[in-house]
Symmetry: C2
Subunit: 409 residues, 2 copies
C-alpha cells in the first residue's frame, strides 16, 4: 500500500540511522563530554546530553481543533489501534499521547515517562503534575515507530468550549513539543473549517518553527470540489496572515482514513497527496540525523571556545591583590577577549556564545578556580571534528532524488 | 452556452434597468438639481451629475500581469473580436480599452472619449495627454455590452520589464478606474504564477475596494491537479497578506477561452466555476442600480442639510457691523450649528458633511449672499425621497435566489 511497507528497505534504513545515532552517542561520550565537563559547559550553555537525547527518534507533532481527525490519522498511519486510543465526534483525546516503539503493547503514565533518563521528556516536569497527569506514553511494536515518534494532542477547542480550563499551560506545552519536533502537522476539517481564537494563539506560538509545519486539509471528500476550493482558499488566505512568512506552508489535501470516499471525484488527487505526505514523513530520519550531526559540530566548536575563554580569564587573574576589580575589568572587556581568541586560534565569530549572557553568568564564578587549558581534551575534540564526524556523515544513505517539491519556495 | 445568452430574458432585464436609471435621471434633473444649484452644492460637495453619469453602465475592470489572458477573456465573454483587439504571448495590450455598446464596430480615440459629456470619462483628462494617447474606446453591438462596460488594461510588468516607464501615472489611473468600477477582476496565470513588485503596489492601491475584487486563476488546465493546488494555495497565502482583510476574496478557477482543455481532469470544476463567474457578472446591473439609488438618497439628504446650514449661517449675520468676526465665530461654532439643525429638523448625524472640510471651504464665502431657505425646493426633495424613489425601487426585478455563495464571509 504505502512504499512505507517495503519492509526490507525500511528495515535497512532504520538500522543505518540507528548506527549513525549510536556513532554520535559514543563519540560524544568519549571525546566531547570530557571537555564539556572539565569547563562546566553544562552550567553555562546547555545541559550535558544523555542517552535519552540520542535515542529519541524524530518526533511528529499533531495539532488541530477537536474532531478534525488527528487520532484517526495516527491510527491510519500505524494501520492498527494503539494502547489508550479514543476516537469520537465530540472532543475525545484529553491528553498528550507519545506513541513510541516497544516490543509489546503498553501504556506508560506521564510521570514515569518524565523521569526516565533514557527518554527525551525530562524537561516536561516543569509543567507540573496537572500536565503530567494528562501525558501518557503508548508503546507498540509498529514498524512505523521504529523511524519516528508520534505525539497526539488534545483537540484545540472553539467557541464556548474555549472557556474550559485545562489546569496547565496548554500553549506552553505545545510550544515545548513544537520546538523539539521534526515535523508539526496542523490538521483541518474541510467539512467544518474553523480557526478559533485559541488555535490562532497556538499558531502564533509555534510559527518560529514554520519550516517544520505541514498542513493537512482532512475529510476533503466530504465536500464537493467547488466547496473544497473555497475552503482551501479561505484556509490559505487566513493562515498566510497568521504565520506571516513569505514561504508558503505545504498543504496535503485528502481523507486520512480507510473508509470509502464520499465524493469520489478527486480520488487521484487525494492519493497523490497522501503519497507525498508519507514520503515527507519518511524523509524525517535522514533530515533529523543531518540536523543532529550539524548540532554536534556546533556544540563541539562552542565547547572548545568555552574552554579557551575560561582559560584566558583564569590566566589574567592576579595571584594576590585586586582580584575583584580585575574580574570586573575582564567581564567588561569580554568582547575584546573574544576578539583575541578569535585571532589567536583563527576561529570564526559564529563559534562564540552571546556576550551579554556570558557576562551575567560569569559574575557568579571565581576565575582563579577555572582549569588550565587541557590540550589533550582539546585535541580529542579536534580529532572528532576532523575525522569521526566525517566518518559518521559518510554512513548516511545518499539522499533519494525528490520527485516532488514539498515546499513552495 | 451561457445563461447570458437567453436573449429574451436578458433583453427584458436590460430594459428594466434602463428604465430605472432613466427614472433616476429624470427625477434628479427635475427635483434635486434645482436645490443643489440654489445652494451651490457642486462647489462644496461633489460635481452636479450629468447625462454621462447616469448613462454609464456598470464597469468591469480587468487587471493582471502581462500575458495572463485578459484580452482573451474579454474575447471569450463577448464571443467575438472587438475593434483594436490584440492577443499574444509577449506584452501585447499597451493601452486602456473601454469596451462599450454601439450600433456598429468603431474605435474612438481616448481624447474624444474624455471630452464627451455623455460619457463617464471626463475626469480622466487630469492624467494628461500621455495617458489619453494610451486610452481607447472600442464600440460594438454586443448583447453583453448592453449590460456592462469592460475595461481592458495594459499588462502589469514583472522583473526587468518593470523598469519601462509608461510616461503617465499608471497606478493612479488604475486607482481611478478601480474606485468607479463595479467589479475588479484580477487575472493570474496558473501556469506561471507571479506577483511582481508593481502588481503588489497596484493591489495595495485598490484594496480599499476589496469587496469588488474577484480573482480569476486562469489557464488552470495547463497544470496537473496537484500543481494547481500548490499554485492556488500560494496565491491565496500571498494575497491574504497583501489585501489584509478578514474576508476572503472569491477566486474563480478555470480556463477562459474556447480551446480544448490540456489536462481534462477538472473539466467539471472549471465549468461550474465559469458559470458562477458569469452569474456574478450578470448580477452587476442590479447591484449597480441598487447602489445608485442608495447614493441618490444620500445625496438628496446631504443637499437638504447643506441648504439648512447655509440658511442658518446667513440668518445669523449682522446687517452692518462685525461681519468678519461674526463669520469667524460661526465657522468656529459650526459643530454647534450642526447640532441645532439636527435637533430642529430631527435629522441624523450621518446626513451631515465632515465639519473640518466645510469650515475650510466656508472661509471663501460671504454668508450674507447665501440664499434664504426655499421651502418649495426642499419640499420637492422630500417628495422625491418619500415617493419617487420608492416608486423607482419597486421597478427593480426581484433578486433571484443565489444558488451559490460568491463571497466567503
Ligand atoms: N477522514 C475522515 N473523514 C471523515 N470523518 C473522519 C475522518 N477521520 C476521522 N473522522 C471522524 O471524525 C471524528 C473525530 O475523529 P478523531 O477523534 O480522530 O478526531 P481528533 O482530531 O482526534 O479529535 P480530538 O481532538 O477530540 O481527539 C470521528 O467521528 C471520526 O470517525
Ligand atoms: N485560457 C488560456 N489558456 C492558455 N493560454 C491562454 C489562455 N488565454 C490566453 N492564452 C494565451 O496567453 C497569451 C496571452 O493572452 P492575452 O494577450 O489575452 O493576455 P493579456 O493578459 O491580455 O496580455 P497583455 O497584458 O500583454 O495584453 C496568448 O498567447 C494567448 O493565446
Ligand atoms: Mg484525538
Ligand atoms: Mg491584453
Amino acid at each position: 500500500m504505502f512504499s512505507w511497507l517495503r519492509k526490507d528497505k525500511r528495515h535497512d534504513e532504520v538500522k543505518t540511522y540507528q548506527t549513525v545515532i549510536d556513532g554520535l552517542k559514543e563519540m560524544y561520550k568519549t571525546k566531547l563530554l570530557p571537555l564539556e565537563k572539565e569547563y562546566k559547559y553544562g552550567e553555562f550553555h546547555s545541559p550535558y546530553l544523555n542517552a535519552g537525547d540520542f535515542d529519541a527518534k524524530p518526533m511528529v507533532l499533531l495539532i488541530g481543533q477537536y474532531s478534525t481527525g488527528k487520532t484517526t490519522f495516527i491510527r491510519y498511519l500505524l494501520e492498527r489501534d494503539f494502547p489508550g486510543i479514543r476516537i469520537g465526534p465530540e472532543p475525545t483525546t484529553d491528553r498528550f499521547m507519545a506513541l513510541m516503539h516497544g516490543p509489546h503493547d503498553q501504556s506508560i503514565p506521564g510521570n514515569a515517562l518524565a523521569v526516565d533518563p533514557n527518554r527525551q521528556f525530562r524537561a516536561l516536569q516543569q509543567f507540573g503534575n496537572a500536565f503530567l497527569s494528562r501525558f501518557e506514553g503508548s508503546c507498540l511494536p509498529s514498524g512505523v515507530l521504529e523511524s519516528i515518534t508520534l505525539i497526539d494532542t488534545p483537540g484545540i477547542l472553539s467557541g464556548e468550549k474555549q472557556r474550559v480550563h485545562r489546569g496547565y499551560d496548554f500553549e506552553a506545552v505545545i510550544e515545548w513539543f513544537a520546538d523539539r519536533a521534526d515535523m508539526i502537522i496542523l490538521l483541518f476539517d474541510a467539512h467544518k473549517l474553523d480557526i478559533s481564537d485559541e488555535f490562532q494563539r497556538v499558531i502564533h506560538t509555534i510559527k518560529r518553527n514554520q519550516e517544520k509545519i505541514r498542513i493537512v486539509l482532512n475529510k476533503a471528500d466530504m465536500v464537493t470540489t467547488q466547496q473544497l476550493m473555497r475552503v482551501y482558499g479561505a484556509l490559505m488566505w487566513s493562515l498566510g496572515k497568521v504565520v506571516n512568512s513569505p514561504e508558503v506552508v505545504r498543504v496535503y489535501i485528502g481523507s486520512f482514513w480507510d473508509k470509502q470516499l464520499q465524493f469520489d471525484e478527486n480520488r487521484r488527487l487525494f492519493e497523490a497527496e497522501q503519497e507525498d505526505l508519507f514520503a515527507d514523513i519518511q524523509s524525517l530520519p535522514r533530515s533529523n540525523a543531518v540536523r543532529r550531526l550539524n548540532e554536534m559540530i556546533k556544540r563541539a566548536r562552542l565547547a572548545k571556545v568555552h574552554a579557551y575563554i575560561l582559560d584566558q580569564l583564569r590566566s589574567q587573574m592576579p595571584s594576590l591583590f585586586g582580584k575583584q576589580s580585575k574580574k570586573d575589568e575582564l567581564i567588561t572587556n569580554l568582547p575584546n577577549i573574544f576578539h583575541s581568541i578569535q585571532k589567536r586560534y583563527q576561529l570564526p565569530v559564529g563559534d562564540f556564545p552571546p556576550v551579554k549572557r556570558l557576562q551575567q553568568q560569569l559574575e557568579e564564578y571565581d576565575f582563579t578556580k577555572f582549569p588550565k587549558l587541557n590540550v589533550g581534551l582539546i585535541d580529542s575534540v579536534d580529532v572528532m571534528l576532523a575525522k569521526d564526524l566525517t566518518r559518521i556523515m559518510q554512513m548516511l544513505p545518499k539522499e533519494e532524488a525528490l520527485t516532488k517539491d514539498k515546499r513552495i519556495r
